[in-house]
Symmetry: C2
Subunit: 174 residues, 2 copies
Amino acid sequence: MKRIAIDMDDVIADAAGRFIEYAQLRLGKTIAPVDLHNRTWAEVAGVQPEIVRAWLFEEGFFRGMKVIADSQEVIKKLSEKYEIFIVSAATEFPNSLKEKLEWLNEHFPFISWTHTVFCGHKYMIQTDYLIDDHEKNLIRFPGKPILFTAGHNMHLDQYTRVNNWKEAEKMFLS
Amino acid sequence: MKRIAIDMDDVIADAAGRFIEYAQLRLGKTIAPVDLHNRTWAEVAGVQPEIVRAWLFEEGFFRGMKVIADSQEVIKKLSEKYEIFIVSAATEFPNSLKEKLEWLNEHFPFISWTHTVFCGHKYMIQTDYLIDDHEKNLIRFPGKPILFTAGHNMHLDQYTRVNNWKEAEKMFLS
């Protein structure tokens, strides 16, 4: 059975949407998803990077993320043909770890803790595919890297790209 | 640079010693390390497995573990010649995750979050070596498995074994 590693933030968990909520709540700034294209969160919010970065260390930031459209149904289908690992670069954010486990248990109950990986780098993960929104994770990945479209990666053109989970379903199941 | 994955519990963190402390404190039972040879914690404590297992889900259980002798100095030396990853099967225990990060920051400050991995299975970790006390982790590991002696694994004879960190130093650095 081939293995697929799947990232969390901005791939199955709507991190950008959570940033938009926080920007509204904390800074009173209304941001649209399209505003995030090829710009950092701090640039879009018009604040110092430390302000936005501090949100990532707060309790509740990760736990409250919405689920990315179609990810549940498609990954459930994928899990019948592939061995699925959720691989999240989470060890930078100590509060995120338990929240991410709880979030997965709630939204992806068919993913076991045995197949959940919290790490820093991902280049030592031995799977056939990695679906991720960050070039830093894809660039050294030894298997086949798949770029999942997010506002911040619109400029990248050297990776196989899926724009959403329906496209991923087509790629892996047809 | 070759990569070594190193387990935490009973390899760098004294899990057995922590169990002995809890058995004294909670059950009033005095247990010696030698009592643990080839027996489960529950057998040694003479209680139902659920009693002992519940301790692993308690706050503080992992955070309070002592450091295994010589592990700090030897892993520091190893880290000059090898790329070291700490790889702990921790996602089964939600409270352990933050505690394990804090524990590593305190006792192994030279190990970055980039090289810390919390997972379930370990067979998808691509390193040249895995130093671990559990056969379940070593048996499917694709690199070279190294068994680190612990009370519960004394009966295993099909793995290259190191009894302590001085022996690991000799194996990897001489």
